[in-house]
Every structure is written in C-alpha cells, then in structure tokens.
Subunit: 393 residues, 2 copies
C-alpha cells in the first residue's frame, strides 16, 4: 500500500516545471532558437570565479576527511562565524555562529521553520503573489495556509486584509522580499508597519507571531534598492536564506536559518528548527559547500545582466501596452495579462512558442510571470511575439 498523498505530491509536477519540459520538447521539434522560454527561475549568471577557485583549493589543500566529513548538524562553526560576521558588517547586527543553522537550501530552511512552530490548529499567512510551494510546505508541516490577496498596484501588503486574517492560531507570516514572482521589494515602511502589527497582535494573543523571511533573492536588487534586514525591525523573525540565486548554486543545496538572540524563545526555537530538520532526514548541509562559505560568505552577485534584461523587457512591454510594476529585485517580471485571464494568455503565447507562467498558482490569476534570467538575445528575438499578442488581445 502506498501513501496516496505522497503519490500525488510526487506525480503532480509544478505548473512551472510542466511548461519548462514542454519547452524542452518543442526545442527538439522546432529548433532551440524558435522557442522563447521564460518559465524557470534558474540563474543564468555563472557563479563567482572565487567560489570555484575556493572549492578547488580546498580539495587540493585540506585534509580529505575534514573536507568531506560530517559537520555538526547545525553546520561547521567557522562557516557559521563567517556568515555571522558578514551579516554583522552589512546590517550592524551582533550575530554569532550560534544564531545560525546551515541547511540544504531555503526550501528545507522554510519547511523546518514552519514545522518547528506548528502546534495544534496552527495557521501560517502568505501574501499573494506567493511562491506556489508554500501551499505544500504548509500541508507538510501541518499548518493551515491563509492567503492575503495581492496589492496589484505596488505588490506591497494590504494591511487591512492581513489584519483580518490574524487570529489566535496565527503562528507566522511568510515574507518573501524581493518577491517571486512580482520582483517587488517591501519598503522599510512596509516592514516596519508589519512588525508593529504583529507585535500588537502577538500581545493580544499572548504568543509571538513570527515572520518567516524567505530571502533567496536578498542580494538581487536594482536601482540601488535597499533590502531591509527584517530582524533589525522585528525581532521575532526567522531568516531563511539560500545561496542558490545570489551565488548561482541552486543545485548545491546550501543555505541557512538565522534567529537573533532577541527573538522570543530564541534558543528553543533554533533547537526546534534543528529537530524539525532532523525529523526530515537532515544530517548536515553539504560539507564542501559549507567550507567554501568560510571563505566566500561576503561575495555579492553582479546583477548587471539581469538588470539589462529587466530593462529591455520592461521597456518593450510598456511600449506594446502591457501593464507591469517595475520590479526592484529578484529576476522576474509580473505582468498583467491582456484580457485579464493569465491562463488564456499563456495558452495563446504557447501556441507561438513563447512560454510564460500564468499567475494562478501564485495566487494572482490576472498576471503572468516572466523570468529575466535568460539570454538577452532571446529576449530581443521574442519581442515581436509579445507585440503580436498585445495587438491580438
């Protein structure tokens, strides 16, 4: 007998993956250059030379048993120290190794965090548009997912709608800024207001309401945009970070959870997150990647290529009459579907081998997502199709 739930989870691909795989097949049929695939959020900038050089040097110089051996479950102490130092320097924090747990990427970090605070009848709030896997994370950790409708004007937070959804069961709000799919970065004011609201509600209900800050895109910002380090403004924050996007290492599965000493039950919370990870088969994050961070934690991505793609696409789409909030971060554009139905638009685009992701699974059925981590050349060649699609609408 097989678990029906697990079977469904394993056989139902994400809509994004389905579109991507359709694209791979079409490329074989009509030629790579005739398919315009904007589906996947897969970094298109190679990792830093320093990352690769560090790994090579570690292999050549470090004791093999130390390099490839088990680390403590929470991660190598020197790697955690290096990350803490970097965060302290950038954000004026007072973190040390004990505030950090290294994880196999952000997915594991977020699920572990949710599981650590899931008690009876717990609820977790997400703000549309949101990463579709949150639905599964909530189910997996035994929490009820509550969604706040999108602020489609600016993709900040509709506080009236959020407040209505907070109750005594609310354990956390997931904040994903820079946002996938909208590219919006929550302003300092938004974060401040959110913190004040959660503080007030936490007092009212007699327990902390945590922010789970899912931040794989923290360093991918444009136009000098500031990304607020949320624990600075709201102590009860669980930062979940991944090096997947900022270092272009999505396959290597390396990230962390960070909780400051100022968070409520900080020690207990970190232990519970570590216990949750253990219950899901976590032993340690990949050790060579951990050691690499000891030397590379302070690297920042060069986002020039993503920025150029963002501008080219945004400008062209605006010219053709599409409506879109200019993204300040991540590597996506989230565009209003002409006609208002993103699925219909995506289907029309697909018939012209232009692959976009309808916003339905992101909780925003009137928008579609374009990844800007693609080649600039593909963007330029795809523009006439965007124009046609706008004219047909």
């Amino acid at each position: 007998m097989i678990s029906e739930k697990m079977y469904v989870l394993g056989s139902k691909q994400s809509c994004i993956r389905e579109i991507f795989e359709f694209g791979l097949k079409r490329k074989q049929q009509v030629g790579e250059e005739n398919v315009f695939d904007y589906s996947l959020g897969n970094p298109s900038i190679p990792t830093h030379k320093q990352v690769d050089n560090t790994i090579t040097a570690l292999i050549q110089t470090k004791n093999s048993l130390m390099l490839h051996g088990y680390t403590p479950a929470g991660g190598d102490k020197r790697a955690r120290e290096a990350i803490a130092e970097d965060l302290n320097e950038r954000y004026g924090m007072k973190l040390n190794a004990d505030n950090l747990l290294l994880t196999c990427g952000a997915a594991a970090a977020v699920i572990s965090s949710m599981k650590a605070i899931a008690v009876k009848d717990s609820e977790v709030i997400v703000i549309a548009p949101y990463f579709p896997e949150y639905t599964m994370y909530a189910e997996s950790s035994g929490m009820k997912l509550v969604t706040v409708p999108a602020d489609t004007k600016a993709f900040q937070i509709r506080f009236d709608e959020l407040e209505k959804r907070i109750n005594s069961h609310t354990q956390a709000v997931i904040v994903n800024s820079p946002n996938n799919p909208s590219g919006a970065v929550y302003s300092r004011e938004t974060i401040y207001r959110l913190g004040k609201l959660l503080e007030r509600k936490g007092m009212e209900y007699g327990h902390a309401i945590y922010i789970i800050a899912d931040e794989p895109y923290r360093e991918l910002v444009y136009d000098g945009t500031e990304v607020t380090f949320i624990p600075k403004l709201y102590a009860n924050t669980i930062v979940c970070y991944s090096y997947s996007k900022s270092m272009s290492l999505p396959g290597e599965r390396i990230g962390y959870v960070c909780v400051t000493d100022e968070a409520e039950d900080s020690r207990e919370l970190l232990l519970a997150i570590s216990g949750a990870a253990r219950s899901m088969g976590h032993v340690c994050a990949p050790s060579t990647m951990q050691q690499m961070l000891t030397h590379c934690a302070n690297l920042r991505p060069d986002v020039e290529a993503y920025d150029r793609n963002r501008r080219t696409l945004y400008d062209a789409l605006a010219e053709y009459g599409y409506r879109c909030v200019m993204p300040k971060g991540a590597f996506y554009l989230f565009v209003e579907a002409p006609g208002g139905n993103a699925k219909e638009f995506a289907a029309r685009a697909m018939r012209k081998d232009l692959l976009v992701v309808p916003g339905n699974e992101f909780g925003c059925p009137g928008h579609f997502r374009l990844s800007t981590c693609v080649s600039h050349d593909m963007i330029k060649r795809s523009l006439p199709i965007f124009r046609e699609l706008a004219e047909e609408a």
Copy 2:
C-alpha cells in the same frame, strides 16, 4: 509557541554524539593521546583520489551553470545511468535511470521510503540490534516501530520472533546488512528465507510487505564476504544507499533509492518516495556530487585499514576474555559487556577515558559498540585498558 516534539528532537542528542563530545572535551583536558574514542562511525580512510580529481576537473571544464544548477528532483540522468550500469554489471540486474532517485544520503532515502508507504496504522519492523535513528524515522513518518529481539549468537534473524510480529498493518521490514552496530552480514540464506516469509505474509494480507534495505556499508566487507543484492531475491525491496561510508563522503550527503520494475507498484512507489522527499524540502541532491558519480559510480573502497583494525581489536579482546561475533562487514565490533550491563561497562570504561557506546539504544543492552574507523595506533595504545576492564569485571 514552539512544537514540543521538534524541540525535544533538536535538544536531545544521540547517545553516540554525547559520548563523542565528551571525548572532545576530555582531549582538551588530558591531551589528545590520552583519550581512546571508539564512539563515532566516521570514515577514517580518505576518499579516492579519483573522486577529488573528478570534482576538480568538473569545476575546471564544465559549464558552471550546468555543474551547479538544479537537476531534476530525482537526479541527473547521466549520473543515474552510471549507477544503474554499475549495479547491472555487479549484480546482473536490468536497471535503468528510472529505477533510481538520488537523495541527500541514506537518512533522507530511508525516511522518504517510509513516508511513501505510511498509510493508516502502518507498522515497520526493525531487527535488533538496529541503528537508533530508526525510532525517530518511524515516528517522523507516522509508523509504529516494532522490534524483533536480537539473535545474539550470530546476529542473523530470529524468524520465529519476526513472524509473530507481522500482521495486516506491517508495511515494511528494515534490513541493515552489513549491520550497524554488529558488523554482521545477512547470509544469502537469511535473505532468501526473509523474502519467502514476506511473500507468504504479503499474500495472506493482500498487500506487499517491502524490505527497506538500508545499505551504506554494502561495500565494506571482509574475508571475501558476499553481500546479497536483496532485489535479486525479493522484488519488493527499496534499496537505500549512501556514498558516505564507501567513498568516505559523509558530509556531502549523496545517496540513492533504487526500486526495480519487478517490485509491486514500482512506478507509483518511486513517485510516492519522490513526493515524500519533496514534502521534506528535497529539491535535488547536491549537483556537483551527482556529476562526480557519473564518472566514479564504479569505485570500490580499499578496506584494508578497517580490516587490520578489526583483526587487531578482535584478537586482543578475545585474548582478554571478551566475547564478540567476528564482524564480516561495516566498521564496528559489537562486544558482550563483561558483567552483562553495557551502560555500567561503558561508564567504567569512560572513567579510564576509553569511550565505547552501550548497546541500549541499538536494542541490545548487553553489548557495547566499538568503531574500528580509528587509528591503528590508538587501538594499540588502548589495549591495556581493555585488559584492565576485563580483569576488573
């Protein structure tokens, strides 16, 4: 509010870890050379030169976006093909890439497998002595753990005791051969008999009873011992493998699940395992390690050093009057505690800075475990203490 269960899991270390950390502290107090730490099963043979050379070559020659990028959730196809080919060659199987899912080590593989077959009131059987984390895996996957008492004569299986414990809720039996902690390797006859029993019981209850074969020690065998590839004799087997021990890469978290086409509901089972992994934050196994396997899947460990340690320890302990079944695999000795109480013996040993793991958590309170993945020199220097402890008993 924090999940009490996760907090306990995160704060309660394994007994093995506790002993190991005590050892680290003692080394600082009395000097490294005066502590004889037999606690951890951490490989002491460096990985193959070819593994490190392959990683270096991949970094130098392969497209960085491909090397460090996402792979399909089940793993890179060429890596899975290389593993399938190697298994086909060694065991005369007809596996292909689709029979394999790459995982972050055996822990994730075993929990995912258990979760995939956990339905209402499911039970999983383990045979003492067993790896203590199985208790947690069962709880995490929502299965009841049922234990079969040890055959302390040969550490094979007490079939009468096993059969009594199989009922309509039994979904799987975990087989860990070569065994941690006993070092026993189940004979071909044992596996054959187990298969026949499970076949009969499966018919009786109208559903497959799977073997979950947890085999990180498969290649670590001595005296030319054969390790039966269980799916050859019993189709309903889920092989969970890790390269942690055979390639000395425990920190890198790379392993796999293998299910043959002949297993009942083979496709559905693999999809459910993949769904279970996803529900625990699995995105893909570390990508560089996956690519490494494309070139190194056929490597075998050189177990000469472990073998030498095994013989030296076994011979000396036998001379001092200890009783122990000579291990045929893994890197442990599982010794009868003089006096019959392993906790008491371990405490006495600890006072002499000799660190052994009592068998209680392995379901065998009359035995203690010694890891032989230590330096030969430490073994030699520790022998007088073993002698003293025997004489005192």
